[in-house]
Symmetry: C2
Subunit: 223 residues, 2 copies
């Protein structure tokens, strides 16, 4: 995890690609002030720990997609301490739930605490372990969110495809990998992200697009 | 229209804000090759005429949102020659339709021809006239798409709000107006876009976010 964080920070600073102008980001943040105590606490924690959460813009975007889709079951691969999961949970209707999966027990413990404070613990399952294994325990997944280590993306797809509901929505973060997908010197992660993108786009049973929001959010709708 | 096009071209070139890196755009275009003859013909026509259509990325994005939402009725304010409408129409289910509205009769005639060639004419209504007036003839609108002259955005919102269905999705293009919303010297259009954004974000009966895709796509979901 330390290595991952270090690599990520390096990648961000080395990235040649400015995805959103900071003044635009400032404008957007001002338009959408946030007063939810848990969301704010988690954003603060991410800043302090330099932990790679989706940011507020992506959070709000996932929230809106979830409202549109009205899923019964959301499965997250790679939940960290629950920031993205909280954006999903806040959009869920009666009886729906989000499954959090994460290696690090203390992250999941923190997520559980935040969900309890928010009054949303009944909308979530908190699972510690390998996301790829845990994910396969579920069926009829309406929204699958992929945010684990990048080299695992293709394997995650293969494992989870049979678990998706009709008209499922697959969402994957970091599919432009800070611009690395168009750079010459590739590595294990950027190669895997590229392969994942190609896999998704080549399937005719999914309609796929990448929204170049922050670091590239892939959306793939099962037809 | 000539003035609009001229202004728009100037705005684009003067814009200080690079919304998507051209190499990323190239990568995305390569991932999603398009073979639909009508889509390609319309993109070519837009290039030739320098006509401001949403581009392919936004088109695919609207298409995916439409599949998620499964609307019965989509109303477009400002259809141009029908490029965005075609992306909506291709995502519609049985019995659903998209209403095109546009001042310019020859644009609507071209749109109709493209829809006929695509075999989608039965999914569309082609209306020539003032979008604000025509729009108000409809009720229970599931998706409202706003892409008229920017100074008209606030008035369009006011006129159309009573016409929306429960859980409607409002989509508006150009809500970052090529970065103009954060620039000092404002004009009628940038002021109107800012006012429109503030109006949408201030409503607690809508969940609103802007996706900084191309020129800013505002999404607002009625709760
Ligand atoms: C990018 S972070 C997740 C951030 C989270 N989705 C958010 O936005 O709030 C990735 C997390 O996935 C976890 N992880 C990576 N691979 C995993 C795997 N195969 N199984 C479980 N957790 C994994 C890491 O421990 C890390 O906490
Ligand atoms: C940006 S273009 C539309 C492009 C189209 N949505 C697309 O992406 O394919 C705007 C169009 O709206 C039309 N328009 C602007 N204001 C209008 C109004 N109040 N009523 C009808 N048409 C209007 C203009 O003639 C122009 O063709």
């Amino acid at each position: 995890m330390e290595t991952i964080k270090k690599n990520l920070t390096e990648r961000r600073s080395r990235s040649m690609i400015q995805i959103t102008d900071p003044r635009i980001e400032g404008y957007l943040m001002k338009l959408q002030p946030e007063d939810d105590a848990q969301i704010l606490a988690m954003e603060e924690k991410a800043r302090e720990m330099k932990f790679p959460i989706i940011d507020r813009l992506v959070g709000r975007f996932l929230h809106l997609l979830t409202r549109l889709k009205q899923p019964k079951l959301v499965v997250e691969l790679g939940s960290g301490f629950g920031y993205s999961a909280l954006w999903f949970a806040r959009a869920l209707g009666e009886g729906a739930k989000v499954v959090l999966t994460e290696y690090a027990e203390k992250n999941i413990a923190y997520a559980r605490q935040m969900f309890e404070e928010e009054g949303l613990a009944d909308k979530a399952e908190f699972r510690v372990g390998n996301a790829l294994e845990i994910g396969q325990e579920y069926d009829n997944i309406d929204i699958l969110f992929i945010d684990i280590d990048k080299y695992q993306y293709p394997a995650a797809l293969e494992a989870m495809l049979p678990r998706l509901a009709q008209n499922a929505l697959v969402i994957a973060d970091n599919t432009l990998w800070y611009g690395r997908v168009v750079e010459e010197n590739s590595n294990k992660d950027s190669e895997a992200v590229k392969r994942f993108n190609e896999l998704m786009f080549s399937r005719s049973d999914f309609f796929t697009t990448i929204v170049p929001l922050r670091d590239g959010v892939l959306l793939s709708y099962r037809i």
